[in-house]
Symmetry: C2
Subunit: 149 residues, 2 copies
DNA sequence: CCAGCTAATGATACAACATCTCATCCTTGA
DNA sequence: TCAAGGATGAGATGTTGTATCATTAGCTGG
């Protein structure tokens, strides 16, 4: 990594089940399987891919659980330029995303100027800001290297 | 409008057909109808809505033409938090979007700090930045006023 | 530990959005 | 004027996600 600004999640979060329990959800077999799979898994994924990686689990259950984990803050969602949604384990702090348009890899980044910018705009806008999405699209170093082999 | 930062497109672009012609596309009846409709229309729309507003035109043709106009820079695409795509006539300059999560209205805005920020990040990132998406989600002034009637 | 309540599951249908197919039409340039 | 081939549109197909609902299986209170 060139700077400390961006990072990938190297460590999976083992506290996925407690998070669900705290929210009053039942700890079921399917949710356990999904949690174990996510802890082992690397990189970003679509809900469809996740369902494919977990044969025996119903598609609807996988979609429901992804939404659950999104609400719980365990997963976060990045959107590709074409609108496709990719999920990845979420870091604990507010952040934004680098998304590789070639391999779909999602890296989180934080930059103080981003929030400063949003604050500056907020005071100028006739209405109520309720959220923002900032995604930077890139070809990651790995994809660049692979491309010019 | 409270500031000069943001604006909606008040004036439609009459130069839609020449743009297509310059790109080597044929000037067909369906494209003419779509162009005239867009020149008259206000606000943002989905491809599906546009197709509904143009009975007699094939759905596939509308979708194809929207993509064409997107490539030509006549239309721009904003993405709602749920992933839905909304199109609107595009201004001539690079910009970003306010999107009202209540009524779907899209307002363009420019802010020098945005591009300054992207430049600052670009030099820090291990890879090649190929684009960015910055969308600010809001409840617009009209929706706020309507909500507390 | 058990029974019962009810959340959760999953097969399936449904829905929205977008693209593909291909026979036909029509714009365009020679 | 007349082919050549781009464009159209009805319909099929694909993708992503949600709704139904009968059945399963956590959880809790007794
Ligand atoms: Mn994230
Ligand atoms: Mn725009
Ligand atoms: Zn990559
Ligand atoms: Zn609004």
């Amino acid at each position: 990594m060139a700077t400390a600004m961006a990072h990938e999640h190297a460590d999976a979060r083992p506290d996925l089940l407690p998070t669900l329990e705290d929210r009053g959800y039942r700890l079921t077999g399917p949710r356990l399987r999904i949690a174990e799979h996510l802890a082992r898994r690397r990189g970003s994924f679509t809900a469809e891919e996740l369902a494919g990686e977990l044969p025996g689990l119903g598609r609807a259950t996988v979609y429901r659980t992804v939404k659950l984990l999104l609400d719980a803050g365990v997963l976060c969602k990045a959107t590709l330029p074409d609108g496709a949604a990719r999920y990845s384990l979420d870091g604990p702090h507010h952040h934004h995303h680098f998304v590789c348009v070639s391999c779909g890899k999602v890296q989180e980044f934080r930059h103080p100027a981003v929030e400063r910018l949003v604050r500056a705009i907020r005071s100028d806008v006739p209405g109520e800001l309720v959220g923002h999405r900032i995604e930077l699209y890139m070809n990651c170093a790995e994809c660049l290297a692979r491309g010019q082999e």
